[in-house]
Amino acid sequence: MHAVIIGNGVTGVTAATRLRQLQPDWKVTLVSGESAFHYSRPALMYIFMGHMTYEATKPFEDSFWRDQRLDLVRDWVTAIDIDDRQLVLHRNGRLPYDRLLIATGAKSNKFGWPGQDLDGVQGLYNLKDLHQLYKNAERASHAVIVGGGLIGIELAEMLHSRHIHVTFLIREPSYWRNILPMEESGMLNRLIEEQGIGLIKETNLKEIVDDGTGKVEAVITEFDDRIDCQLVGLTPGVSPNTDLVKSTPIETGRGVLVDNAFRTNIPDIYAAGDCAEIVSRNGGRNLIQQVWYTGKKQGKVAGEVLAGQDTEYDPGIWYNSAKFFDLEYQTYGMILNTPQPGERHLFWEHPSHRHAVRIVGVDGCIKAFNFMGIRARHEVCERWIAERRTVEYVLDHLEEANFDPEFFVRHESEIVRSLKEQLA
């Protein structure tokens, strides 16, 4: 049996290693045009900032692949020949498969802005983008970033580390306000401005101006304000990368349509990770998950399905984390940007604006947490949510959830006092 995986990102690689554990004798091949070896995509920023070498972003030593008999092919897949069960490769002819996993990830959104293809305009998603950023940063003293998500703020931090002045253009009234509640978002506005980064809110991009040689010279906002810059980062989110399957019989929606076991409509072809759209069984919303953790979790299940196990993906309790400059953020359970009907929000913020906690309850039971500048134990938070502990119980035991390093100043007594007052 020969299993082929398109894409060596976290989903493809997790599927491959899981498959190898379950089927020691199968031939397993990973095809990627982007990189020779798997690397950690979230670590791209640390290469640019000089915190890490590229080599260090590879989670496995190069010898790992040989030891595990996972074949790596550096090539782009240009087509899937479904009838003959073969992949058409750009450089290396055809690659037959018995089972195929599509893990092509996502690609940066572009909204057809005038000038979006100029020299000096780019997104940040892969090694190619990073390489381009190296070049673009050389001649930039001022950069404009359009789109206020996680990649946008990472890009801001990256350019800031090289002493390039950054202006951040966001559609929302406050940074990441489409995801975060007002208070957390406000803490981040403060943080961004504290770093000396210009934050222009509720403003759309109108066009990017050519300097006459095909290079970017400035951007113009919807209010006809002109901002001079030599680099424009476009980071208005990502979408599933379905280029390869769009006009094959494999069904796509926004992503590659799959069931709960990552099966597409074609037998023996599967898709998982950022490129997949999991069709809801009960007519609810389809699920597209595009963060590292879900890519890894989906990859593990996809590996099991490829190996022939009868298993299904359970998204479980949502969690995520990020670091905004020096402020860490963790979330457990789902918190939307505004309180939903029936939700009770309790919020505490330290006067320094460097620590905050949000606790969301429904019918007196814990539903979700946001932590800013405080580390929390994943296992404890998840268990409390799963066990439907009462908010009172959670407050009384909050210190059990703390994961800050030793000797850090603990805020539980203040937090609990404040939140209990709100509760009363």
């Binding site: 900032m49 890490m52 070498t53 260090a56 550096r74 479904i82 953790y293 984390s321 990020a322």
Partner: protein, 484 residues
């Protein structure tokens, strides 16, 4: 290649470029990065350092600066004041947090010409210190007044060495305060190593000399300070004129055989290696700019295990042979003296000093601690099998970025554990806490648990779990299915 695709080609090959060979070319230093802004305070401080350096060179060239204290204060005083000022003005206006921007681009921090020059200079200093101290006579004369005050005796090369060592720990300890001012673990730990170096490893031994007691270092024990349990040293201490000699013997024995296992059981190896030890103290302060240079490969781990346990066996054998030889009327004396001399030269001087510190800018700040130190080997065995200490990982939050592994000064692939949500229980971990500090997702935490049995399955019976894993073919972590 020539086979025409049967299915329609959906991606136009012309649009595809194999844009970049990241393996061959990597992502290196930016060609023309904007310089970090320098404030006037930094410039003035740099000037003060320059003046101090000038005074040092003038003194060393033998051009007399009048008075006993003047040359000392002009050279070391200005160097210290300038360094403190430079560090203060560098970090004063920065937002507290991890300060690793540009580390991999820095000439000094990433094996550039300055790093090599520093490495050669440090190595050269150790070679001269150990084997040609006569060339240091002018430098020794510089610290003479301090030696007179502290010890009431003339300075020698070891006093000079202790002074420079302590100065480095204190000045670069201050740098740690500024860099890690958001992190109380690092502040407290740095205060601890500064205290132990300054008081127990510098001032107190000199005071003991002034009191005509043996020059004894209360913060070093056998087998790191290997001669403290040699029969010759024990004899010398017991028969020394001062009253403290016998207590020193008792202290040495108690620290090696009681404090070491007990404290390591409760707190792990870190109580010594990154809180008390002078070698660790220098590594955590002066050596901090180079902590990421420690090799991380599986091969380096194999070399580490081969050498460090060999050194441990060697010092145990040497000590045993010396005792047999001293108690049995010359039996084994033919080998005991050469063995002692050999260990002192190759391990005590060449490995611990010349390579251990001299290679900081090239191989990282823990070369000796990781590959050679027999004390670290003993602490490591206790930590691996019988200690409450572990680094815990936080559920599924790891995103495999590799900051932890990069900044592990002991070469542990921390990420390999973190990404699987496993506790890290490794003999080499010195508990410096930097992996936890640099983690951008809050995944790692140094913890002392309630027992050693809850660290991972089987750790209540660590030795049988270990032998079972080995018998099942677990080699090293590189194969990912099992590791020991």
């Amino acid at each position: 290649m020539s086979t025409p695709p049967a299915a329609p080609t959906l991606i136009d090959p012309e649009s595809i470029s194999y844009f970049y060979d990241e393996e061959a070319e990597g992502f290196g230093e930016p060609e023309s990065a904007a310089e970090a802004p320098r404030n006037p305070g930094m410039m003035v401080s740099a000037g003060v350092i320059g003046l101090g350096f000038l005074a040092l060179v003038v003194s060393l060239l033998g051009m007399p600066l009048s008075g006993a204290w003047t040359p000392f204060l002009l050279s070391f005083g200005l160097l210290s004041a300038g360094t403190i000022g430079y560090v203060w003005f560098t970090y004063r206006d920065t937002v507290p947090g991890i300060k690793h921007d540009g580390i991999m681009f820095g000439n000094t921090t990433h094996r550039g010409a300055i790093a090599w020059a520093l490495g050669i200079a440090l190595t050269g200093f150790y070679v001269v210190l150990y084997w040609w101290p006569e060339y240091l006579s002018r430098a020794i004369a510089l610290v003479e007044p301090l030696s007179q005050v502290l010890a009431g005796q003339p300075a020698n090369q070891w006093f000079l060495y202790g002074f420079l060592y302590t100065m480095a720990v204190v000045l670069f300890g201050f740098r740690m305060f500024m860099r890690y001012r958001h992190n109380r673990y690092h502040i407290i730990r740095t205060i601890s190593v500064m205290f132990f170096q300054l008081v127990l490893a510098f001032v107190l031994p000199q005071f003991l000399r002034a009191l005509n007691e043996p020059e004894f270092y209360f913060s070093y024990f056998w087998p790191l300070k290997y001669d403290y349990l040699f029969p010759g040293t024990v004899d010398y201490l017991v028969n020394s004129p001062g009253a403290l000699g016998s207590f020193m013997v008792f202290w040495g024995v108690a620290c090696t055989f009681i404090a070491t296992p007990v404290l390591t059981y409760f707190y792990g190896k870190r109580w010594y290696c990154s809180w008390v030890c002078g070698c660790g103290g220098l590594a955590e302060t002066l050596g901090d700019p180079w902590r990421h240079l420690t090799p991380k490969s599986t091969v380096s781990w194999k070399i580490e295990r081969a050498i460090i346990y060999a050194v441990l066996l060697l010092i145990i054998a040497t000590t045993a042979v010396l005792w047999v030889s001293s108690t049995s009327e010359g039996a084994l004396s033919a080998i005991s003296a050469p063995l002692k001399q050999w260990y002192g030269f190759y391990i005590g001087a060449v490995f611990a000093g010349v390579i251990g510190v001299g290679f900081y800018p090239i191989l990282g700040n823990r070369v000796w601690c990781r590959f050679g130190c027999p004390m670290a080997a003993v602490l490591g065995i206790i930590q691996r099998f019988f200690s409450r200490f572990r680094i815990t990982t936080n559920g599924g939050q790891c995103m495999s970025c590799g900051n932890c592994t990069t900044y592990c000064e002991m070469g542990i692939d921390v990420r390999a554990y973190a990404e699987r949500g496993e506790n890290i229980v490794r003999s080499s971990c010195v508990g410096c806490g930097v992996c936890s500090a640099v983690c951008p997702r809050g995944v790692l935490k140094l913890e002392n648990g309630m027992s050693h049995g809850d660290r991972y399955p089987g750790s209540d019976k660590p030795l049988s779990a270990f032998s079972e894993a080995v018998s099942k073919g677990a080699r090293v972590y590189g194969d990912r299915d099992g590791y020991v």
